[in-house]
Symmetry: C2
Subunit: 553 residues, 2 copies
């Protein structure tokens, strides 16, 4: 049985889910689904990888070893060295691998790629610990985001790609009637891969933001070079090693997927981006570098970006103010605002927020939020577990310098303690309060545990500000609360104009930060927050070109 036959129904189910957009999880998100002793075993395996060379990757032409990862929880170096390859060798490897891979049928590719996912699945727990100690995510988020959620998001382009690649017939006979005779041509249509695909990883979601581009490029026939963030290599290194293993076992050149590490001191990203054979670039990260990536389109490169955005919350009216404040506080706290989907700006009308019981004044709403935020960070059972650790020293510096903005401080960050991780880089969230005209404070992304309450004249002003922020600076999510159907519709239509998905009236154990694979498109691609979307049809189609040859019969 071929790998395609083995995984065919799994792939079909995924495609059906994509087209239905109802709930579906190809890889269940709970760790328990993957074995009882995973927690313990995973930790042992993770620790066994520290303090040595990571030798599971392709050993061809290694010229050096390097590693600089530090756990945000312990401040200790992981002391893992990764192979550094000669730049030209990686390009040549990719070109060589392309020659073989493009001749593999889309079905076979899909079979092999799903097999790589199944292999990665067997390392979910190590990947979780690796994610935790590079990104600062909590264990549970690390497990889900780098494990099942990543694989779901990788399966999406495989299933959708296979569908698109087989959408037109390989071969047809075209016969044009010309009166008494006809002209006959044999035509064949090939989905030709564009060329080398570069996928640039980020430090906060090194697997989740990397695999979709990798698998979209692979299913469409392109070789991939992954350039991980030098501070978050291990989680994706394990995935790449798994992928290479499966490729090798199936007679495919393992360098079809390469991990091209660099160091913070000697970055190589731009050199890859500007190489003439690199045709596809996937990027997640800050907007400055993202704008550099986007201008490479002028050189004919196809780019997929997810940059920074400023996400808004619009509070108009609610059923239960405590449920709303609780939901928002959790969304703001989760991984300390280091998710691209985290809300930042909370627009509250000066006349307050009407609830079922009474109208809460602006001040009361802010108090509710403060109480809920403090409730999370001060609760030893939640605290560090929800906030995680701050990945990057610079993010912490931004928090420490927040007073320079001279905004009113509703909550000031203070370091949090954890019995398990006494040295964790974790602080309670900062909450600022500003007037609607303080654009200079809330108009850019303040990445990290920083939220801002903005007092507006009314919901119309809130909406106009949220809209114009998204139009100018981009936005990935928007949360809105209203019990008035007209207001809901107006918010929905207005934010649609700037291509921002709105989540209405969310309470309970689900947060605006979460985009579900197979159902929610992640980033719309329509505003300054990025030009790509996980996973819409464009995300796969732009990676290949239809070329139709014709032959006289």
């Amino acid at each position: 049985m071929s790998l395609y036959e083995k995984h065919q129904s799994f792939i079909n189910q995924a495609l059906e889910a994509i087209h239905n957009r109802t709930f579906y999880a190809a890889y269940p998100e709970h760790p328990k689904a993957y074995g009882e002793d995973g927690f313990t075993q995973g930790k042992i395996l993770f620790e066994a990888m520290c303090d040595k060379k990571f030798e599971r990757l392709s050993s061809k032409d290694i010229i050096n070893w390097h590693g600089e990862e530090v756990s945000p929880y312990t401040q200790d170096s992981l002391n893992i060295q990764y192979p550094i390859y000669d730049f030209d060798v990686t390009i040549n490897n990719a070109k060589q691998a392309l020659r073989q891979w493009k001749k593999v049928s889309p079905q076979e590719r899909a079979g092999i790629l799903v097999e790589t996912l199944e292999r990665i699945k067997t390392h979910f727990f190590e990947i979780a610990y690796a994610t935790m100690h590079t990104t600062g995510q909590s264990f549970m988020m690390s497990f889900q985001a780098s494990g099942p959620h990543s694989l779901d998001r990788a399966l999406e382009p495989v299933a959708l790609g296979l569908h698109e690649l087989t959408r037109f017939p390989n071969e047809v006979v075209w016969e044009k009637p010309m009166g008494k005779f006809s002209v006959k041509l044999e035509k064949n249509f090939a989905a030709v891969p564009k060329g080398i695909s570069l996928v640039i990883g980020c430090s906060t979601f090194p697997v989740w933001n990397t695999l979709p581009g990798v698998f979209a490029s692979l299913i469409t026939g392109n070789p991939v070079i992954i350039k991980p963030h030098p501070k978050a290599v291990l989680p994706i290194a394990i995935c790449v090693a798994d992928i290479q293993d499966v490729l090798r076992e199936n007679g495919i050149d393992e360098t079809l997927v390469q991990l091209a590490c660099d160091s913070s001191e000697l970055p190589i990203t731009k050199k890859y981006c500007e190489h003439s054979d690199v045709k596809l670039i996937d990027y997640t990260g800050n907007s400055t570098f993202g704008n550099y990536i986007e201008q490479l389109q002028v050189q004919g490169k196809t780019v997929f970006t997810e940059k920074a955005g400023v996400n808004s919350v619009i509070l108009d009216s609610v059923k239960n103010i405590d449920e709303v404040a609780g939901n928002l506080a959790f969304a703001l706290s989760l991984y300390s605002g280091q998710m691209c989907t985290a809300p930042q700006n909370i627009f509250i009308p000066e006349s307050g927020v009407k609830a079922d019981d009474k109208t809460y004044s602006y001040e009361e709403v802010v108090e509710k939020l403060k109480a809920q935020l403090s409730g999370i960070s001060n609760n030893p059972k939640m605290g560090v577990g929800v906030l995680g650790a701050i990945q990057n020293e610079n993010t912490l510096k931004r928090v420490e310098k927040i007073a320079d903005l001279k905004a009113q401080m509703a909550l000031t960050s203070s370091p949090l303690k954890s019995e398990e991780f006494p040295k964790t880089r974790t602080v309670s969230p900062t909450l600022l309060e500003v007037q609607a005209d303080a654009h200079h404070i809330y108009s850019s992304e303040l990445f990290g545990p920083i939220a801002i309450c903005i007092k507006t004249k009314n919901t119309d002003e809130s909406l106009q500000l949220a809209r114009s922020l998204a139009a100018q600076h981009g936005a990935i999510t928007c949360a809105a609360y209203s019990t008035d159907i007209g207001t809901l519709n107006k918010i929905g239509e207005t934010m649609q104009e700037v291509f921002v998905p709105v989540t209405f009236n969310l309470t309970g154990p689900i947060w605006v930060n979460q985009h579900a694979a197979f159902s929610d498109f992640h980033v719309t691609g329509g505003n300054a927050a990025g030009n790509a979307s996980f996973t819409n049809p464009e995300f796969v189609q732009k990676r290949f070109v239809w070329v139709g040859h014709r032959k006289m019969v």
Copy 2:
């Protein structure tokens, strides 16, 4: 019955044809299918339009009238004036029309759009004469290219667009099991139009190269501003008037589609391109301006270009040399090389071309081509009928100055006479002969009736030159002749690498210049000849953004 119901099966048939890619013509190409007295009536109607204002277009806010069309056949001014609108008014009209149109369902849009095609169909003959006397195409090409072939190419994005727009459900309930309870969200997915679409017409195919972008933008909800070439307005003006009529009759703001004429002296194209509300740009024309259009991507605009390319012919071996030379000579002569699909560079091995009867030396092959080319231009029944007239004075100048290139002249252009059009701007084709190292002569597009025989060491060199030309300068077509299956495959694979479709061994009444709607993709979008393709899924998908709102149940 709604217009959608009226046209539903017609649209479904088109979609099926697109996915099958076998022969299909939604609009039969022969004039006879459209009435017996069309030729006479069409001429009368065309002449009745000359020497006056064209008053069928929206009369809102006209600030001036202008026209500068001259018939390439008679050298007489058509003396038709078209409305000039205030720039800002056209932008505001489009924004206004967008508000209404985006709320029209994809099905209703499709119904209305097919109705506009049906209306245009009733004016095929006038459009043909209008095309003839602006572009210089022969009557038959004018009829087919601006008539049925254009409508087929317009129907493609309507059918494909409807499919893509309805690919995901409008509304779903998403229910995530959470152990003892579940979380329920109502989701809706909207395909949100990107914004104002600018379609920039060209002087040689003012309808054929314009309608695909127009209808792709319309089906996906965007308002369209067409900026025609000031020397070729009438054919598209008739179409726009028809579209506006149908829109108005169906309660849709007629300025959803506007014709924004300018003059050669006061061009307004860049002003439109750079306006912040213009989000989509379709362009056909020279590479210099096309490259300007493509760099607008950096400003977040989505662009669709068809620029210049250098199309190659590779002669390796043939069955019958006369049939091949005849087919190529016709392809080179058709509309005097003013088709973007016309071949230019004919690579011939120095050892000659093997045929079934004997091997023809390089010199003999050139002689065969010369004879066939002269045969067409000197035959009074073909001559001007095949070559048409040269649209642009500059094209003629290029022909006249060809001697400056100092290449060997196998055939020198000379003016052709026509009884019907004594003043026609028609010349017999120029044929040059150069060595393979004369890159400076054959590496750029010599638009017009100019072809070049290039003597190569062998077919491998021919192929490598054709490949590298396509990689560097782009190519839209390639014709290749070989009786050896291995050589055919090698040519096919090699040209695929640079995203060029190859047509093999074409003889008889079908030419490499022809790309059939519903079957052949026109331009692959993969090389420097342009980034877009008629009509692949990207051509519609890039014009809208999926935005999914969620609401707690």
